[in-house]
């Protein structure tokens, strides 16, 4: 039975885990799939900051855990909001070798399901931003 307070996504990628891993830790690679500008300090407590395509929205959080090349955990909230604590929601990505490729699994927790939401999590800016993206259908392409 799937939990209602998390979003889980899985994708098989025809690339080895060490290549996929870098797309979460290298700013130049991050912006090839998410955002237009990124600052990433890939160590626990390090900055995770991505300026989204709409520029006025900046995802800001910290790396929690990194295990090359199998796991990345980071938090994020939205910049510019004085009452969004670091760690509004948590994203956990695991990379498992699968033949010549990688099985990527993403778990995004901290959804606003009251019964299961942890105390203190804030979605003050994240949710309106998500609404905009969803209304547009998808994240605009960078290319």
């Amino acid at each position: 039975m799937t939990r209602s307070d998390v979003v889980e996504r899985q994708v098989r990628i025809d690339a080895r885990p060490e290549i996929v891993f870098e797309f979460f830790t290298d700013p130049a690679k991050m912006i090839r799939w998410k955002g237009v500008e990124a600052k990433l300090e890939p160590q626990p407590g390090g900055v995770y900051r991505v300026v989204m395509n709409e520029a006025q929205y900046v995802a800001n959080g910290t790396f929690v855990e990194l295990v090359p090349h199998s796991k990345i955990v980071f938090t994020w909230g939205w910049e510019g909001s004085s009452d969004v604590p670091p760690g509004s929601s948590t994203v956990e990505v695991t990379l498992t070798p699968d033949g010549d490729g990688t099985m990527l699994r993403l778990i995004h927790s901290g959804l606003p399901v009251p019964a299961l939401a942890a105390h203190g999590e804030g979605w003050d800016k994240f949710l309106p931003r998500l609404a905009t993206v969803a209304a547009g259908g998808e994240v605009p392409t960078d290319a």
């Binding site: 994708v11 998410k34 990688t102 804030g122 969803a134």
Partner: protein, 113 residues
């Protein structure tokens, strides 16, 4: 949808939603959980009702509130779409890098005497 999300972008409103998630509660009961004025809570309730997050039932002079759980299911689906779009692009870009890496590696092999 956007209204629902904006309505949730507030700590107190999320707390209110938690309070009415399982049981219907009166406005007075809800207000008693907070340290702010009753009008301030009424304002929150109005925003949430306008956004479709909670339903209001009136009985005489009393107002009772309960959660619209389907709304939150919609939000979850939207987050799923957000990640689907991003991961699709990640897959494309990572696979491109993998092909480049393999090409370079095979060239190196051929150059060896």
């Amino acid at each position: 949808m956007e209204a629902a999300l904006k309505a949730l972008a507030d700590d107190r409103r999320r707390t209110i939603l938690r309070l009415v998630w399982d049981d219907e509660r009166s406005a007075g009961e809800i207000a008693s959980h907070f340290d702010v004025s009753r009008p301030a809570i009424s304002q929150h309730l109005a925003v949430m009702k306008g956004a479709g997050l909670i339903a209001e039932r009136r009985e005489g002079t009393f107002r009772y509130y309960s959660a619209h759980r389907e709304r939150l299911e919609e939000i979850k689906q939207m987050i799923e779409s957000f990640w689907d779009a991003g991961l699709g692009r990640l897959k494309r870009e990572a696979e491109r890098d993998e092909r480049d890496a393999r090409r370079k590696e095979s060239r190196k092999v051929r150059k060896r005497p």
